[in-house]
Symmetry: C2
Subunit: 222 residues, 2 copies
């Protein structure tokens, strides 16, 4: 036996944490989950994620933003943009988000994640209702007009190849839990605040924020 | 320019989170940090980490255990035990622990992490005082006598090669913040509870638990 050459070695056992997820969630007064914001570059994923984070934090919730760009400076700094690297990028972010969700935290992930299959793999790693896909359904024209990082301009000038939505595919979610659009039903432009509110209201209506924060009841202070 | 082939592409920007670390830590009444438990197999890293987690949780603290064995079933399931894989294993766990510390959480990492250089790289990624090295200084004979997973038995039977502390190196920390020993100064066996208490007391004395949990003061409830 040379168990030292295999990743899922029989020598590697799972330890059960001493503090259960239920205990954590009861104390936090919320259900841990992963809100996965997917969409084109410039669709507002990070902006909306941070706005939702602020709203949830101010409401006394434990929340984290895992921003694909930021994580590429740390955990995923050894990954490029080739298809297999993009797949691994999505996988790792999914696993980290899962760790936060298991702590009872609401994890907002902001990542283009253009391939349906990659996103569905993350969903499959999580329990029922723990993966909430948020489709930033913003037309390419709108994203390109915004162009916050000047990337579309560089693409059109031929300086970037293989850009999602232009000359690389973006596979739209088939049944996202939440669809965020650039305009509301009355044709008015949707604000960042509106988009963040849509996410927070989803969590509230679906029971993720299952008990109000009642200090003294759920915090053990002795 | 073909920015799509490099990991640290100039197109990848850092976003500043809307909720600051200071805000999180003020509300949690604690300072986020990484407690890195390193030591031989069977030295009690995970057992002590979970005992410290329980004590901290019961004291109203936000705490997570990142167990090297568990993470190999998720985030690090695509890594083996070759030197470069072990190094990447340590690096990824360090980055995930950093993400938790940035949330103001006390992250207990349980990982053999035999190479000083790998551990020091994690330390270098964290700020002053954020990396607390906990050396489980338990003699090989004690670990081998315990042998909770039967690994030493397999090693001695020649079924496992390259085992840390036997026929692969373990580089002891030079200046660990905390050293946990099998016996106290009076020569009495140290219990798991004593070891966990040592860690919690370190945090208390060094100001990581900087304000008591005072519900109503640090939780915004409106």
């Amino acid at each position: 036996m040379d168990a030292y050459r295999v990743g899922s070695s029989p020598n590697v056992r799972r330890h059960r944490g001493e503090v259960s997820r239920g205990e954590r969630e009861a104390r936090l007064g919320q259900r841990g989950c992963v809100l996965w914001l997917t969409g084109l570059s410039g669709s507002g994923k990070s902006t909306v994620a941070y706005a939702a984070e602020r709203a949830l934090h101010d409401a006394g919730r434990e929340v984290v933003v895992l921003d694909g760009d930021n994580v590429r400076h740390g955990l995923n700094c050894n990954l490029g943009f080739a298809p297999e690297d993009r797949e691994e990028n999505v996988r790792r972010l999914g696993e980290v988000a899962k760790l936060f969700a298991e702590q009872g935290v609401i994890a907002l992930v902001s990542l283009i994640s253009p391939y349906r299959g990659d996103r569905d793999k993350v969903r499959a790693r999580l329990g029922e209702g723990e993966f909430v896909e948020v489709f930033m359904k913003i037309p390419l024209e709108v994203c390109e007009e915004r162009d916050p990082k000047g990337l579309y301009k560089a693409v059109r000038a031929g300086k970037i190849k293989g850009f999602t939505g232009v000359d690389a595919p973006y596979e739209e979610p088939l049944e996202p839990e939440i669809t965020v659009t650039a305009q509301n039903e009355s044709g008015e432009r949707t604000s960042v605040e509106d988009m963040a509110t849509q996410i927070v209201q989803y969590l509230g209506s679906k029971g993720y924020l299952h008990s109000p924060v009642r200090p003294g009841e759920w915090i053990k202070t002795d």
